[in-house]
């Protein structure tokens, strides 16, 4: 079978799975799986850019996704003038002071000659800066957080349309990625993996604990949507009429309408990113990246600034994860920092990329859709399998109950098995690079 033929069949297969869900379960379920699948596909493209094109091992996807989510809150929620009056500006000032301290310390380390003097000077700058920062930061934070903590207590957002939060999420993630890349890729050996693993945890810790920023673990719910509300549609006589014309009841019609709306938005973003990634891959830029991947030392000797290119790819990939994160938070309609878990947002995305085919953008998309489908559907399938296995056992046999209770854990097991099977029998993934 020719490669394009095989790939088409693979995509058709995944589409078939989703359609099957539509018939067997419901179209709402099918569309929902597809929507999250599209978002996952975008994350997978981001990770694929980093791992597939440049061999950068980012195990902090979760952090960038979370930053995208933060962007939604900061961009689209309402302005809170009282919070700004109480201490918002003070917080900004404190953060600037903190940044200035770090910059000063770096300057000291560059300017002052090596020795005890430098160490002392750096320590003095850092410690002094830290206490100054805390002195400004703490009271202002308390002031902001004191304002109606049960429902607000944060600095709010800019009140802009939520779609603007998507590029903003990219920017935020890119900024963080730049800082991480600058440090981890700038170290004499590459320590990106542990750096991203750690930073992702720190980002989540900040999101959880800095209530003034986005309410911390108290969550922000009811974020604005780029699509209409189902209730409004159900109340809209024109819509109900049209739905009836298509033989649908208003509830089904409205829920489907909204989901299709999201699908269209997500698809547009995905296609744009896919196009951009493909164009880059097929150009001299892509050739350069392949050269760097093949032989870093030689590429460096041939005038390619390897560190800068790695940084570029890392920032871009992370920015894409940021967009995906913003889209996901938009779809959820809420930001819940507690929900960011490495298993789900880092390792699962990796499974998607590896299974799909690292280095191939279409592979990443396919892998994302397939794995997401399984992630959602393994649970009912697992339960069904367990029931089948245990159907012969007594109603209250301990083993039977245990097996049925364990069905939910089949999800992780299944992901592991799929990953290992693919790595074993088709190590380049379902759609290999070239």
């Amino acid at each position: 079978m020719s490669a394009p033929m095989k790939n088409t069949l693979l995509f058709a297969f995944v589409a078939g799975l989703i359609v099957l869900t539509g018939f067997m379960q419901s179209w709402n379920s099918a569309l929902l799986i597809m929507n999250m699948g599209l978002i996952s596909a975008i994350m997978a493209i981001g990770v694929n850019l980093q791992w597939g094109f440049a061999g950068l091992f980012n195990v902090g996807v979760m952090g960038f996704v979370a930053l995208g989510g933060l962007a939604v809150v900061l961009v689209s929620t309402d302005l809170r003038p009282e919070a700004w009056a109480a201490g918002g500006w003070g917080i900004i000032l404190a953060l600037l002071l903190g940044a200035a301290t770090v910059v000063a310390a770096v300057l000291v380390s560059q300017r002052v000659p090596k020795g005890a003097a430098r160490t002392l000077a750096m320590l003095a700058v850092l410690i002094g800066g830290f206490f100054l920062y805390r002195a400004v930061f703490d009271p202002n934070v308390s002031a902001v957080e004191a304002i109606n903590p049960a429902a607000a207590g944060n600095i709010g957002g800019l009140g802009l349309p939520v779609l603007l939060a998507w590029p903003a999420g990219a920017l935020l993630a890119a900024g963080a990625a730049w800082l991480i890349g600058k440090t981890a890729l700038g170290l004499r050996s590459d320590y990106l993996a542990i750096a991203t693993l750690g930073i992702a945890e720190i980002i989540i810790a900040v999101l959880k604990n800095e209530d003034w920023l986005a309410r911390g673990v108290k969550n922000v719910i009811g974020l604005p949507r780029p699509v209409p509300y189902e209730i409004d549609l159900q109340g809209d006589a024109g819509f109900v009429e049209r739905a009836a014309g298509m033989g649908l009841d208003p509830v089904t019609a409205s829920t489907l309408y909204v989901k299709v709306g999201y699908s269209v938005l997500f698809l547009i973003v995905l296609l744009i990113l896919l196009w951009m990634a493909q164009m880059a891959l097929k150009s001299p830029w892509g050739r350069m990246m392949r050269a760097i991947r093949d032989n870093e030392v030689a590429a460096e000797a041939m005038g390619k600034d390897v560190t800068r290119r790695h940084l570029q790819v890392f920032v871009l990939g992370s920015a894409i994860c940021g967009i995906a994160g913003a889209m996901m938070t938009t779809l959820d309609g809420q930001l819940t920092p507690g929900s960011y878990q490495p298993l789900r947002f880092t390792f699962l995305v990796w499974v998607m990329v590896i299974v799909g085919g690292s280095g191939n953008n279409f592979g990443a998309v396919l892998g994302a859709m397939l794995i997401w489908f399984l992630w959602v559907q393994v649970e009912p399938i697992g339960l069904w399998v367990m029931q089948l296995i245990t159907s012969g056992m007594a109603e209250d046999s301990a083993l039977r109950l245990h097996l049925i209770d364990s069905a939910a854990h089949m999800r992780l097991l299944t992901m592991g098995v799929i990953l290992l099977l693919v790595l074993r029998f088709s190590p380049r993934g379902l759609i290999p690079e070239k």
Partner: protein
């Protein structure tokens, strides 16, 4: 090469120190992990790779009916252009390569089906071309590792090695990685001698060493050979090597192109022109 063909070896250029360790990664794949049967064969040279044909993994044949042999007290030298299959022939003899037809015989025994470890036990010593010492271990530990398969007292052999390479005794407690190039080569040969091999195989022992070290190494090799140990070696410094060789093989594209004594090959104008640089 194999890098891009084997999907499992596609690391995508990742060099992340926090997850992978590239130090000392192996490249050799034994043809037989578990030894098969051996059989006795009468006569023939002490060590012979006889009409060997074979290649790496499932790849194409690299050796085509290639024969190399060595007898006690002899130095046999293999020369030939790059990629001719010289190192491959050595590996085939050592069991790192599937010999699809032909055989390897040592001291009247067919060892074609043996795993490399068992060939070591049978008395074969091999010094690869590069990374041929344990850099993080001391000189003494390197020698001990050479005698890994031996269960008897090794102090005597170690003394012999120190006698042969006095500098090593001086540096016995130093990590071998801190030695100079020439000294490293001595450690490498010493390590191989620790097995008390019945035959010694060297792959380009002088590549990249300065003339003075090269001379010294050749001196040592001659000395070792005079103890009666057969030596099979690959050399690119073909002229010097052939000068000390009792037997020379010229390999071209995996086939024996010329065979003769060192002197004969040196004298052959065709060989001189094509392989010795005029």
């Amino acid at each position: 090469m194999s890098d891009s063909d084997n999907p499992y070896q596609d690391g995508r250029g990742n060099k992340d120190r926090s997850i992978t360790n590239t130090h000392g990664v192996g490249t050799m794949t034994p043809a037989h992990r578990k030894s098969g049967a051996t059989s006795r064969v009468e006569g023939g040279p002490f060590l012979i790779g006889d009409t060997m044909t074979g290649g790496y993994g499932k790849g194409p044949d690299i050796l085509h009916e290639c024969t190399v042999a060595v007898d006690p007290g002899e130095i046999a030298v293999i020369v030939g252009p790059n990629g001719a299959g010289k190192s491959t022939a050595m590996k085939a003899i050592f069991g790192m390569l599937d010999v699809r037809s032909g055989s390897v015989r040592l001291d009247g025994e067919d060892i074609t089906q043996l795993s490399p470890q068992d060939r070591v036990t049978k008395g074969m010593g091999f010094v690869p071309q590069t990374s041929n010492i344990f850099t993080s271990m001391t000189v003494e530990e390197n020698l001990e590792m050479g005698a890994f398969i031996r269960r008897d007292d090794i102090t005597g052999t170690m003394e012999q090695v120190y006698e042969l390479f006095p500098i090593l005794k001086e540096k016995r407690h130093q990590p071998a990685g801190e030695l100079s190039g020439g000294q490293r080569q001595q450690v490498a040969v010493g390590r191989a001698l620790m097995t008390q091999p019945k035959v010694l195989m060297l792959d380009e022992p002088t590549a990249g060493v300065s003339p003075i070290v090269m001379d010294e190494l050749f001196d040592r090799i001659i000395e070792v050979s005079r103890t009666g140990l057969p030596i099979l070696m690959v050399e690119q410094n073909a002229r010097q090597a052939l000068e000390i060789a009792d037997k020379g093989y010229v390999l071209v594209q995996g086939r024996n192109a010329y065979t003769g004594t060192g002197k004969e090959l040196l004298a052959d104008p065709e060989v001189r022109k094509s392989f010795l640089g005029g």
